[in-house]
Amino acid sequence: MATEQIAQAQQHIATHRALPLFVRPRIRDLGRALLYASPALVIFFMFTYFPFVRAIYLSLHITNPAGEARRFVGLQNYARILGLDPNSTVNFVPYIAESFKFAVLVVPAGIVIAIALAMLATVRVRGIEIFRTIFTSSIAISLASSGVIWALIYNPSTRATRWLVDLLGLQQPSLLANEATALIAVAVMSVWSGIGFNFIITLAGIQAIPQDLYESAAIDGANRWSAFRRITLPLLSPTLLFLLVINTIGSLQAFTQFHLLIPEKTPNVYVYATYREFWYNNRYGFASAMSLVLFVMLLILTIVQYRLANRRVHYQ
């Protein structure tokens, strides 16, 4: 077998000089690889990379309602978004702040609830599988469906939350219409929607912790709480970091719930403001700049989160 291959190789070298033995099949495989990868590559280029570049191009221009770039304005759109243009009244920093406010409301609560639920779900009782499935179920419920249901929960006509409005002495009959409670109300709905995903990940993380660690701790006289603090949490930290990053990115990109529950609010969250600029005002160049600002923000945030948290994360 080997001698045949060597003979073949020598033949190839003779005809295609200067190409060492091991490169030839590699280049042939390159062709093959590109062929196999081509369907996916075409989609990636057409719908991710090329549009990204086009977005950058559009963001540097003023565009007409048909989406064509009309006048080059350099970084003017960016300056305006960040409130850095003295000639402009526009400033989207309050919207960015609103998005971060939302993230702060949603992310910690979601993770804490997930941990609590996962701890509860590790109890060995009969039928625990059914409960686990119930806890997971919100994964299958789309944001649109949740949004529609929660919109009615918050609607004064169904009187499901009227008692809370009266308790808090709010001016408007709906939690979604009062400035003070609108964002929180949407956050509650978002946390609910995300429980399934967070729960599953956390449960898997807990289940990966070796049982003997707990047994040794119990022998050493540790109670449940200190076992949780000294064993569970530290060993769960890679999972929690993952959840932190995913949930933060997700909450900063939230759109559906805002479109369904509080479209009229100003300042609204940044992604919704981008949608308004592009869909209702047809300012494609400006909105492209907005979306690229978001991209940079998310990138920086992810890197920072990983760097900062990595110091505290324990790997086995």
Binding site: M46, V148, A204
Partner: protein
């Protein structure tokens, strides 16, 4: 699993009682919105529904059928979602497997670069490309069509990653032996590798179908004609009517939720596996 009771010798009955109470209580709280939706769906076309139906005898179970008569387009929305989600799922599975196959089994220069190209798509948030994609779809006239809903999603960086990781766990000797026996590379993929990769394929399929069925933002932009809308956008349109009649909207929402709930029940294990694949490795 944490199991302290045997170590501590606590009395089992009150412990179990408390645990069940907590489990049931939490479940009820979590499922409240679904109960709410069901309750509103069953109370008939009233503008002032109550949280719990006052009269259990007059529950309108017919609303689930009536909503199809009242809004026959609901069936079309369900069909649209099915077609789109199925097509995308098949597409993603095929393109990801092919790409991952190349990455895992072929040896060529620029391997790392190609992997990065696939994973890079995960880094670019969809908002950054949304506007350009929307303009492109408008320009080629793919609005209000299946192509517009399907084609942009036919490949997935996550899918490539998942399949590649899985392929790498399979023994290479199988591949080498097959090649020696004269098996074509593509035939190997189709007849041997993919059948062996069923768990990963199932995960990817469940995850992709779920995600595509639940899409909202993109179908919202790309469809306008009610005939072409998908279930998610469709149910939100129900509420735009002048009279606040809640029961049909809730009934439609529940109906639209059923396929994904069923999928979750049947594919839960695969889904968990897939989601945790990224999480635990950090």
């Amino acid at each position: 699993m944490i199991n302290f009771s045997t170590r501590r010798g606590w009395k089992s009955i009150p412990y179990f009682g408390l645990t069940y109470a907590m489990l049931i209580g939490v479940s009820l709280i979590l499922m409240f919105p679904l109960f709410f939706a069901l309750s509103l769906a069953l109370q008939g076309p009233t503008a002032a529904p109550t949280l719990i139906p006052t009269n259990f005898e007059t529950l309108d179970w017919g609303v689930f059928g009536a909503v199809f008569q009242q809004q026959p387009i609901l069936s079309r929305w369900i069909v649209n979602s099915f077609v789109v989600a199925s097509a995308v799922t098949v597409g993603v599975v095929l393109t990801s497997s092919l790409f991952a196959y190349a990455l895992a089994y072929l040896n060529f220069p620029g391997q790392a670069f190609l992997l990065f190209v696939a994973l890079g798509t995960l880094m670019v948030p969809f908002e950054a490309t949304l506007i350009s994609n929307y303009l492109f779809i408008s320009e080629v006239g793919w609005k209000d069509s299946y192509q517009g809903l399907i084609v942009p999603f036919l490949a997935s960086g996550f899918g490539v990653f998942l399949m590649r990781q899985y392929f790498l766990t399979l023994p290479k000797e199988l591949y080498d032996a097959a090649l020696v026996d004269g098996c074509g590379r593509l035939r190997y993929l189709w007849s041997i590798l993919l059948p062996l990769s069923r768990p990963a394929l199932a995960t990817l399929a469940v995850y992709t179908f779920l995600g595509t069925w639940n899409q909202f933002y993109w179908p919202l932009l790309v469809t306008n004609d009610p005939e072409w809308r998908t279930t998610q956008v469709g149910i939100t349109i129900f509420s735009n009517f002048e009279y606040a009649v809640f029961n049909t909207q809730m009934a439609a929402t529940l109906i639209v939720m059923l396929p994904t709930l069923i999928l979750l029940l049947l594919g839960q294990r695969q889904l968990v596996r897939g989601l945790t694949a990224g999480a635990l490795k950090g």
